[in-house]
């Protein structure tokens, strides 16, 4: 299935041609979980990656759905 991913923080810097308006289209197996997507993008715990779908923070064991629009951020604690 295909997932549309938008990256934030310093994460876009890993993709030299990253277009913030388009994000990335990532193909992953049906039934894949959030952690599978993070692994595919090589975003590790040390990056503080957190994932938001439909205005909600999701857990790494949650399943992804075809066509999901995913935003990935880095951890933040206040400003």
């Amino acid at each position: 299935m295909k997932i549309r991913v938008k990256l934030f923080g310093t994460l876009p810097q890993r993709y030299p041609d990253y277009d913030p308006s388009q994000g990335l289209e990532v193909g992953i197996p049906d039934g894949a979980k959030v952690k599978d997507l993070l692994a595919r993008l090589e975003i590790f715990a040390s990056d503080g990656g957190l994932v938001v779908i439909d205005n909600l923070v999701v857990q790494h064991d949650d399943s992804l759905k075809e066509g999901a629009s995913v935003r990935i951020f880095q951890s933040a604690f206040g400003g």
């Binding site: 923080g9 310093t10 503080g48 205005n55 923070v57 880095q74 951890s75 400003g79």
Partner: protein, 573 residues
Amino acid sequence: MQFIRVNMSEQTVRVEDVSQDYVGLGGRGLTSIMINNEVPPTCDPLGPENKLIFAPGLLSGTSLVNTSRISIGAKSPLTGTIKESNAGGTVAAALGKLGITAIIVEGLAPQGKLFNLIIDQNGNAALQAADDFKGMRTYALVERLLQDHGEKNGVLCIGPAGEYQLASASIQTSDVDGRPCRAAGRGGLGAVMGAKGIKAIVISRQGKNPDAIADPESFKESAKVFAKAVKDHPFSGKMLGALGTAGLVSAVNSIGAFPSYNATKGVFEGWKKISGEVLAETIQKRGGQTTHMGCSQCIIRCSNVFVDEGGKYVTASLEYETIWSMGGMPGIDDLDVIARLDFLSDDIGLDTINTGVAIGVAMDAGYKEFGDGQAAIELMEEIAKGTEIGKVLGNGPAAVGKHFNHHRVPVVKGQSIAAYDPRGMQGNGVTYATSPMGADHTAGNLVGAYLAGVLNPLEAEGQVKASRKAQIAMASLDCTGLCMLAGAALAAPDVSEALLKMINAKLGTQLGADDIPALGIRVLKTELEFNRNAGFTNKDDRLAKFFYEEPLPPHNKVFTVTDEDLDSTFDFE
């Protein structure tokens, strides 16, 4: 370990040793305990009985990184409660290196008289007449003071808003470049400084007499552990240096908790134009600085220097809360306008949060159109000029709501909420409602827990407990002089142990791990006692009514934590 007591009624300056009651205290712990001891709770905040206290943290002036927060305390003219507002810049480290534990300003100068307090490299303090500085904005003021006294000084000062004694007046502090772009914004403490008759405090940064450290070797070793942890942490070591706190704009909009158009929406349509990512790109393209050292001994470098299209300086340290208050709340999606409003706030001496929200409330009441950046700039100039509408705006959102008879005023105890809507982040609502300081995100911000997915931001369950824990932790941290952004590293046990070791090494004490939260609880209990004696009750610990009645899109939730649960926030175990 010395106090400098300044009596403005008599224009005398007295240096005294720190009395036993206050030994081992610093920052917020010192300001709050001293205010509770020495200030009558029912006094007029702008009268002679109030005291304005400037206290660096316990670790300020040491070699430890990111210890440049100065706590400023008084009874607040905005909230009527006890208040501690802390700021970065250079003055905390400067005072620490002079061995000055606090400056305590008492009494009132004769009507219309203005003074500067000058503290030299030997810690000698003197008042100088400052009638020539009357009405000056802070950038011009600090430039002149640094010309007169030398660049190696830090400055605390007020602008016209402080002189007018407006309830949103800030106390600005100079950064390492000598720009007054750092602020103790919350609580209107600039009005207290104005009432006292002090325009500026100039402090030498060349002091060489810090308090002795009881165990220098242990301190040094733990300071290295702490610094490494700050550098290695993904938030303090990576994201803040790249985007600053503005990195939160995308994240908080993405979870629907970014109060916009005077808290009627949780996602601002224009957020992509004002995000941290776009801010960094804009600054980079124009030749400004996306990362910048604003505070002494900072290794995080969350600050920035924003320039216009021609590369000319506009403002420094443009950060998340201001992008929200001057962007989302009045519906302005133009970074150039927001940067200009940030500069004007610093220059006039205003809390960006309270002032942006005041403009948002005025727009919501129909006084100006949402999104009209030029109108917002003109309203800031009205405040600077001290016109009638300017004074209403400069007294904050509650004053604006009253003036326009408008019901939607996002304040607690008269002080505006910050950039996290309590309907989209229920625990931040608990902090706003119950903090002894009025609505204040720095008293116990739970955004990190929500973004990490360990606490559901939309349900009432667990919020009071989380807020209590955060408020205790912050009350402790605010005693040390440490920046809360460096505090993110403290979640690791070896880092919190390093902090404990440094406190013990500095003071020569044998405190245990439980003594750190115990200090936070002591500070909170002291503040609550002052507020109770000032006439506050549990009924004051409530959000504005509309948060309970008007659902916030996109989640369409209202604030659901019960009054009973709110009242249990400070049931310390």
